[in-house]
Every structure is written in structure tokens, then in C-alpha cells.
């Protein structure tokens, strides 16, 4: 068991290391001198040269990488030239928005996917099964920015249930906060629940076909109890993995939705950094988001290990 945790931890660290090299390398080969970018075209060459060496850009690449990595470990990601603030502060300001939208949409997606997935598995080939499978296909094919625009027109403009755009902090008004993140969360949930539903349906079907289900039926237990207590329990592991993975993906994948609904979250910050070529900010953001994704995946894997006794005895046998 400890072996499993250690081996998962080791591979997470390796991935994180590779990610840091990719991020650093990709953004280092960007055309143009970052010092020139910051100062603009009117700066004199002397001033540019001064900033160039102040930023450590004249040092060899491996030394630059090493310094950058050490600073990352100290949570010092440098200063954004666009905002003139430290990248850590900027990220911490935007994080609550993205996190609450991601969490909210994951809750919505999970509830819908479990309800339809379980019914689909029990009543295989029924109308509900076909319906939920069709919706599942459609959900993954609809671009979130498009459904977002449709929602804005329908629920925002016509029905006036939710504000069209903008964000209300929870400290200001809790109801306003929920209202402002409901539409973006639902839009994200539509894109997410398809895969989840597919997994729940297939793992539920598999667990229904197990021998212990027949045993439970022979014992005369009620069908509701059989499905919810035995079948669902056996079918929980795969969906949990997917929920973890999707939540992690959501943390990094909200740019489009945040743009549609004008939410000042992490995704918007990434877009701003890309638009203005703020490399320090972009590097920090990419590293922060990707490491959180790796961390979440790691935690989910460990949680699943505790739930599933079959993995507990797993030994890495490569």
C-alpha cells in the first residue's frame, strides 16, 4: 500500500519535472527579447540591455531554468510586467472564482450523470437509455461558448433569471454570487457529464451482471436496495477516477466560459497573458494550473486506493 503511494508520488514528480522543462523551454524560444517587450520599442538599447541582464537573460539557459525552478518552489513566480504585481498575488485573486465555478459545475454534472447513468444501466435499451445516450453525444459536441451565448440570450435576456455577465463575490451577497456563477457552471457541466455518464452506465452494467447480484436477488432483497447498495457500490471506482480527472481539467479549462460570461478567473488571466505576451505571468500560470491538476489527480488516486481493496494489494510489477 505504501509502495503504491510512493510509486504514484514518484511518477507525479517526474511528470511535474517534465512539465516544468516544457513550459520553460517553450516560452524561452518565443521570438523577441522579453526585456524589449516590457520596455516597448521606444526604449534605448542601453536601458534594454540593463533590464536584460537584471532579468538574468544573459545567463546560460540551464542557469536561468535552475533559478526559475528554485523560485517556483518558494512560490515566487516573478512579477507580471503587464500588471506590475507579483504573479502569486494575481493567481490568488483569481483562483476562488475559477475554483467555485469548477466545483459547482462538477456537482451538477455528477448528479445528472449518476441519475441518468443508473437508469440507463438498469433499463438498458429503454427510451431513457437512448435519450441519455443521445444527449451524451450532443453534450460533448456542443461548443461551450456557443451554448453559453444561447443561455445568455434565453435565461439572461428573455427570462431574466440570471445576470448576463460579471461576477459577484460571495462576501458581498451570497445569492448574487450563486446567481452569477450558475450559468457558467451549467454550461461547463453540459460539456462534462457526457463522459461521466458513459462510464457510470458501463461500470453499473458490469456490476449488475456480477454473480453477487443474483445472490442478492435470490435472498429476496428489494430491487431498490440491490441496485443502490450492492451494484452502485461496486460501480463507484471508475466514475470517481473520471470525476477527479474532469475536475482537474476544469480548473485549467475554463478560459472559454470565463470569456463568455466575463468572469475574472484564472482562465481569463491566461488569455490576457497570451494576448499581451506576458511571459512571466504565463509561465507562472501554466505551472500553477498544471501542478494543481497533477496534485488533484494524485490525491484522487490515493482516495480510490482506500476505496478499492483490489488496488491495495497492487504491486508495481513492471
Amino acid at each position: 500500500m505504501l509502495n503504491y503511494i510512493l510509486s504514484r508520488f514518484k511518477s507525479s514528480i517526474v511528470v511535474l519535472f517534465v512539465v516544468s522543462i516544457i513550459t520553460f523551454a517553450v516560452l524561452m524560444i518565443i521570438p523577441g527579447d522579453p526585456a524589449q517587450l516590457i520596455l516597448g520599442t521606444e526604449a534605448t538599447p542601453d536601458v534594454v540591455q540593463e533590464l536584460h541582464s537584471a532579468m538574468g537573460l544573459d545567463k546560460p539557459l540551464y542557469e536561468q531554468y535552475g533559478n526559475w525552478l528554485i523560485n517556483l518552489l518558494k512560490f515566487d513566480m516573478g512579477t507580471s510586467y503587464l500588471y506590475g504585481e507579483s504573479v502569486t498575488t494575481l493567481i490568488l485573486n483569481c483562483l476562488p472564482i475559477t475554483l467555485s465555478v469548477a466545483l459547482y459545475s462538477m456537482i451538477i454534472a455528477t448528479i445528472i450523470a449518476f441519475i441518468f447513468g443508473i437508469i440507463s444501466a438498469i433499463k438498458k435499451d429503454s427510451v431513457i437509455d437512448y435519450f441519455s445516450r443521445s444527449i451524451m453525444q450532443l453534450g460533448t459536441a456542443i461548443p461551450s461558448f456557443w451554448i453559453g451565448m444561447v443561455f445568455v440570450v434565453f435565461f439572461g435576456l428573455k427570462l431574466k433569471w440570471f445576470p448576463i455577465s460579471g461576477y459577484v463575490p460571495a462576501s458581498e451577497s451570497f445569492l448574487g454570487f450563486i446567481k452569477s456563477i450558475t450559468m457558467p457552471s451549467v454550461v461547463l457541466a453540459i460539456g462534462e457529464f457526457g463522459l461521466l455518464l458513459r462510464i457510470i452506465r458501463s461500470s453499473m452494467q458490469e456490476s449488475i451482471s456480477q454473480d453477487y447480484m443474483d445472490m442478492a436477488k435470490v435472498k429476496g432483497l428489494s430491487m431498490g436496495k440491490i441496485y443502490l447498495k450492492y451494484a452502485l457500490r461496486g460501480a463507484m471506482v471508475a466514475p470517481l477516477t473520471i470525476i477527479g480527472m474532469q475536475f482537474a481539467k476544469l480548473v485549467g479549462g475554463t478560459t472559454v466560459v470565463e470569456t463568455v460570461f466575463a468572469l475574472p478567473g484564472l482562465g481569463r488571466l491566461v488569455l490576457t497573458a497570451v494576448e499581451h505576451r506576458d511571459i512571466v505571468l504565463l509561465q507562472g500560470l501554466v505551472m500553477f494550473i498544471t501542478s494543481s491538476v497533477i496534485l488533484i489527480t494524485f490525491i484522487v488516486d490515493i482516495l480510490i486506493m482506500f476505496m478499492n481493496p483490489r488496488i491495495k494489494t497492487f504491486e508495481r510489477g513492471e
Binding site: 511518477s11 517526474v14 511528470v15 511535474l16 517534465v18 512539465v19 522543462i21 516544457i22 513550459t23 517553450v26 516560452l27 524560444i29 518565443i30 521570438p31 438498458k124 435499451d125 437512448y130 445516450r133 453525444q137 450532443l138 460533448t140 459536441a141 456542443i142 461548443p143 461558448f145 456557443w146 451565448m149 444561447v150 445568455v152 440570450v153 435576456l157 448576463i164 482537474a248 481539467k249 476544469l250 480548473v251 485549467g252 479549462g253 478560459t255 472559454v256 470569456t259 463568455v260 491566461v270 488569455l271 497570451v274 494576448e275 505576451r277 511571459i279 504565463l282 501554466v286 494550473i289 498544471t290 491538476v293 497533477i294
Partner: protein, 279 residues
């Protein structure tokens, strides 16, 4: 009875997918021979004509008075070129890297696979956005960014399939006959992997189209005045509260394309892989 229904559902998803994709392909081919209007031609007197106005503009006009139908038609070229092109490049490099890492398992192989793991760890379109910063916007930048995005999926698939197939008897037999690695790869591995690769290819085109339209929507993909469906939606954003019809046609076009390729991928998966493993 239930079995019949099941096969019908599977085949129907394949058929619907084929119909949707051929519609998009036809529109794209047609755009080379005939378009109702010049797609970039601005006509200020004809701004915001709705499709319901019964004018000669079937899908209406946008904020510059450009014909939406013509822009949808020329946009299909961008979407298909970027979508299919980037998956072709990504698949080619991915297959090569996957094969290489399966062949040289120790140092080279594990180094390649670790880099693939790293590339896959970037969530969603974050990697594509970062790459666009470096390679620049426009169709070319999108193709490069999306093809790099596609490499790890194919590399992993090929790597794992080759490791599975390697121990089979006919491969061992070919080796003992003195076939070179290249011969074995093209004569035996590729045919064995083809069903899964084709399936993966189709679904990958679906997601490539989704990434392309998302990048264009964010202003990081195709640049104006060129037409891309994502860009059309992005341009519609300023006006669609008054003129919701602006968002209808590009949205439906994207859904048709992505859904079509996804359904074909699913249908192929059932036809080529599941049925084979049952037999």
C-alpha cells in the same frame, strides 16, 4: 430482439455521423465552385438582415453586411484543413514516436514516454494556448499547436499496442525468419493497429475542430477578415443580444462537424474493435 435494437443503434450512430460529415465535406467542396456572395465583401447598406426577412441572403448578413452563408462555406475550408491537417501531422509524429519508444524500451523509449506524459498533463486547451503564444496566431499557428496537442495520444496508443502485439507468435516468427524491424513494423504492426488508429483518428478530428473553433473564438486562431466558425461566433458576441440569429448558423455548423466525427469514431469502434474482439 434486444440484440437487433442494439446493432441498429450502433449502425445508426455510424450512419448519422457519415451523413453529417459528408454534408460538411460537400459544403466545403461546393465552396470552390460556387458561393452566393464574396465572403469578405462588405455591404454596409445590407447590415443585420435576418434570415426571416426573406431577402436573397438565405442565412442573413452580419455586422459588416457580409453574407453569412458564404462565410460559413468558406469557413468550412479552414475548419477542415486545420482539423484534418493537424491530426494527420500529430498522428504521423505520434505513431513514429510511439513505435520508436516501443522499439528502444530502455533509455530512448522511457524518455519519449515521459515527455508524452508531461504533454498530456496540461489540462484542456492550456497547452494549445501556450504554443500559440510562441508559433503565432492564424491557420498555421493553429495547425502547429493542435498537432503537438495530438502527438501524445497517438504515441501512447501505438506504444501500448506494440508492446501487446510484440509477444504474439507471428511477430516472433517474422523475426526468426530474419525480417528487419522496418519490415515487421509496416507489414505486421501497422495492419494490426489500423482499426484502433482509424477510430482514434476520427475522434481526434472531432476534438481538433473543437480546439480550432475555441482558439478562434478567443481571438488566438484564425484572424479577421478570414472566416472561421469560431471567429464568426466571436464577432457575433458584440451584437447577438440584439441579433441572436448571428450565432445560430456557425454554432450549428460546429456541432454538426464535431458530432459527425465523434459518431463515426464511435461507430468504427463498435464495428472494427468490439466486434473483432468478440469473434
Amino acid at each position: 430482439m434486444a440484440k437487433k435494437k442494439e446493432t441498429f443503434y450502433k449502425n445508426s450512430s455510424m450512419i448519422i455521423g457519415l451523413i453529417l460529415v459528408s454534408c460538411v465535406l460537400l459544403i466545403c467542396i461546393l465552396s470552390y465552385f460556387y458561393m452566393p456572395y464574396e465572403p469578405n465583401e462588405m455591404n454596409i447598406s445590407d447590415r443585420f438582415i435576418k434570415p426571416s426577412d426573406n431577402s436573397e441572403y438565405i442565412l442573413g448578413t452580419d455586422n459588416f453586411g457580409r453574407d453569412i452563408l458564404s462565410r460559413i462555406m468558406i469557413g468550412s475550408r479552414t475548419v477542415l484543413t486545420v482539423g484534418i491537417g493537424s491530426v494527420c501531422i500529430g498522428a504521423f509524429i505520434g505513431i513514429a514516436l510511439g513505435a520508436l519508444s516501443a522499439q528502444f524500451k530502455r533509455v530512448v523509449g522511457s524518455a519519449i514516454m515521459r515527455v508524452m506524459d508531461g504533454l498530456m498533463a496540461f489540462p484542456g486547451i492550456l497547452l494549445a494556448m501556450m504554443l500559440v503564444t510562441v508559433v503565432g496566431r492564424g491557420a498555421q499557428g493553429s495547425i502547429i499547436a493542435i498537432s503537438i496537442f495530438m502527438i501524445p495520444t497517438f504515441a501512447r496508443l501505438v506504444n501500448s499496442m506494440m508492446l501487446d502485439t510484440e509477444s504474439l507468435l507471428y511477430i516472433k516468427a517474422a523475426k526468426s525468419y530474419g525480417s528487419t524491424n522496418m519490415q515487421i513494423f509496416f507489414k505486421h504492426f501497422i495492419p494490426a493497429m489500423l482499426p484502433k488508429l482509424i477510430t482514434q483518428f476520427s475522434s481526434a478530428v472531432g476534438s481538433a475542430v473543437m480546439i480550432e473553433t475555441s482558439l478562434s473564438f478567443l481571438g488566438l486562431g484564425i484572424q479577421p477578415p478570414n472566416a472561421s466558425w469560431g471567429l464568426m461566433l466571436s464577432e457575433a458576441r458584440q451584437f447577438f443580444l440584439q441579433y441572436p440569429y448571428l450565432a445560430v448558423a456557425p454554432g450549428i455548423a460546429i456541432i454538426m462537424t464535431v458530432l459527425g466525427f465523434n459518431l463515426i469514431g464511435d461507430g468504427l469502434n463498435d464495428l472494427l474493435i468490439k466486434r473483432r474482439s468478440k469473434a
